[in-house]
């Protein structure tokens, strides 16, 4: 057996072992979250070591309880509202801003591009206390619309950065033709730039949605009234109020996790592009 052969064999074994290990470590928590959400409290308390689940005894009561007795029906719609609004405003404003930064000439353009990069490195924990103080004092803190503005500020720099780099790759000739034909700048953006940038806009939208949907710190600090809770905020509340009923917390966790993972698996390529551009944050 040559050294080459020997090492190839070792690598093959290590690769299989490594893959099995990684798949187990990554998938198990998600598996456990889902399986536990279908168990009864009795099952959770009496058989904590039962790794499987009896398909005939699937228990949906955790979902029923969480949705209708703990207000999660409301939290889901709040989360959807916040995330969709953030996406719409973020994509809209970033399209306008990104276009201005790439195509229009004005003083301070270079500084603007640098500033975008710098600003999206600012950590949330440094921003949250001063914002908490200001909005508490103004009596505006406990508001879901304020939360949208916060998320917008968090996602806009990344969105601008991504769209700016994409717009740079678009050929100018079509835009010039549009301008010569009498389109306004806004007309050019609407009729030419947006259709050509559909994949980039989708990446930005997905990335923004993920940030808003998953956000915890600001929702936790800002929202006091249960009617206004987002899913993440609601789960923290739930986990603090039920001590043993882990199946409830797991059912709520499934509801917040599955939509975002499904979106990701359907649009993996688009989201990965957003992640690698915006991954510096998080």
């Amino acid at each position: 057996m040559t050294r080459e052969h020997f090492e190839v064999t070792i690598i093959r074994i290590l690769r299989v072992a490594g893959l099995v290990f990684f798949i187990a470590i990554v998938a198990f928590p998600f598996y456990w979250m889902i399986v536990s959400s279908f168990k009864s409290l009795q099952e959770i308390l009496l058989k904590p070591a039962n790794l499987g689940i009896d398909i005939r005894k699937l228990d949906f009561s955790a979902y029923y309880e969480v949705l209708f007795r703990h207000g999660f029906f409301r939290y889901i719609s709040n989360s959807l509202y916040v995330s969709i609004a953030t996406v719409v405003f973020s994509v809209g404003l970033a399209t306008l801003g990104g276009y201005a930064v790439t195509r229009l000439h004005f003083r301070g353009r270079g500084l603007m591009s640098y500033g975008i990069l710098l600003i999206y490195m600012f950590p949330a924990i440094v921003l949250v206390i001063p914002l908490y103080v200001v909005f508490s004092r103004m009596g505006l803190r406990d508001s879901i619309n304020l939360l949208i503005l916060v998320y917008l500020a968090q996602t806009l720099p990344v969105a601008l950065y991504m769209l700016r780099s994409y717009f740079k790759t678009l050929p100018m000739e079509m835009e010039h033709a549009g301008l010569v034909d009498g389109c306004s700048r806004i007309g050019v953006i609407w009729r030419i730039v947006i259709p050509l940038s559909a994949p980039a806009l989708a990446s930005v939208a997905l990335y923004t949605f993920m940030i808003a949907w998953n956000e915890f710190l600001f929702a936790f600090m800002f929202l006091d009234t249960p009617e206004k809770f987002t899913l993440s905020r609601g789960i923290v509340q739930l986990a603090g109020s039920v001590h043993l009923s882990k199946q409830l917390v797991m059912a709520a966790s499934v509801m917040v996790t599955i939509p975002i993972l499904l979106l990701f698996f359907f649009f993996e390529r688009l989201l990965v592009r957003g992640l690698t551009a915006g991954a510096m944050k998080g």
Binding site: P29, P48, H105, I129, P130
Partner: protein, 313 residues
């Protein structure tokens, strides 16, 4: 004549650019730039949580008292050390795991796309959901890990992974004291953020030209030698940038530790102190001062980063 015409055209363009950028600029200034300045102001004033109802936030009573409190806090050094351990160990682990995962997925095999997607999911999933799932798994009373361990005889008794500061590990007659909860949150950090490194390293691996490997094979380099002399030098640059990024972000990370341990059992990092000053001691001034310290450290690292990028260019 043409000159003034040109002038007005470029004026119009600048004005249009202004209006197109203004909304984004206002939102970002109000919610990112302004808070940093406002935070500096608050850190120089005696402000308590109660002052948010009455009292004046505008009074010009500046003092360095808050910074004095933060630095002379008996827990400050411990929190700084905890933060550094958490940051260095967590960043190293996540970049290392990311590299291993990228090497595993680099070559073609059936189901590769699915595995790649699976590997990214810890990073995509909401932090609240995965943090609570892990604390359920690790729970000493109801956690599956402890119960499987006890039932199979591997563990004499359940281990309180997230709620105990020290744990004595007996290994071949030697007892090692392990910082248990801190180790657990570092492992969580590695689990949750390895996909970040994974994505970038995988992209880098796929950009390494095949000729390099072929030439090395012809020269008789074995697979391990090829990894050591070709792959590793080729990804060294991306590994170090990833480490710097993870370092910056882990240093400022709050959510994960807050959700897992609330900063108890030897996991109190500086970001947790920001929260504890404000909502444990109701001292907004000290909380802001702590945040300013974090911000100062961040600025140093950003400077390093931008210097570095400038050099790379």
């Amino acid at each position: 004549m043409t000159n003034s015409n040109h002038q007005s055209l470029s004026d119009r363009e600048a004005r249009l650019a202004f209006w197109m950028l203004a909304p984004a600029f206002v939102v970002v200034s109000a919610f990112v730039v302004f808070p940093v300045i406002w935070n500096l102001w608050l850190s120089l004033k005696p402000v308590s949580l109660a002052d948010l109802r009455g009292g004046s936030l505008w009074k010009f009573n500046l003092t360095l008292e808050n910074f004095h409190k933060v630095f002379s806090d008996p827990d400050f050094v411990a929190a700084l050390v905890t933060t550094l351990i958490y940051t260095i160990a967590g960043s190293t682990l996540s970049v290392f795991l990311g590299m291993i995962a990228a090497l595993l997925v680099h070559e073609e095999f059936p189901g590769r796309g699915l595995v790649r997607g699976l590997f990214i999911s810890p990073y995509i999933a909401p932090v609240v959901a995965v943090a609570f799932t892990w604390s359920f798994i690790l729970d000493p009373q109801l956690g599956v890990l402890n119960w499987v361990g006890v039932d199979s005889g591997l563990l004499a008794q359940p281990i309180p992974f997230l709620s105990q500061r020290w744990w004595n590990l007996d290994f071949m007659g030697v007892t090692v004291r392990v910082p248990l909860a801190l180790t657990s949150v570092v492992l969580f950090e590695g689990w949750r953020y390895f996909p970040f490194a994974f994505l970038f390293i995988l992209a880098r691996l796929q950009a390494i030209p095949d000729e390099l490997y072929q030439a090395a094979s012809v020269d008789g380099a074995s697979p391990f030698q090829r990894f050591w002399h070709i792959t590793l030098p080729q990804i060294a640059g991306v590994l170090s940038i990833l480490f710097l990024f993870r370092f910056i972000w882990t240093f400022n990370k709050f959510d994960d530790i807050f959700l897992l341990t609330r900063g108890q059992a030897g996991t109190e990092v500086l970001t947790i102190k920001v929260y504890d000053y404000a909502f444990g001691e109701f001292d907004i001034g000290a909380s802001s001062a702590m945040a300013m310290v974090l911000f100062g450290v961040l600025s140093v690292f950003l400077l390093i980063y931008f210097r570095w990028i400038a050099k790379e260019d």
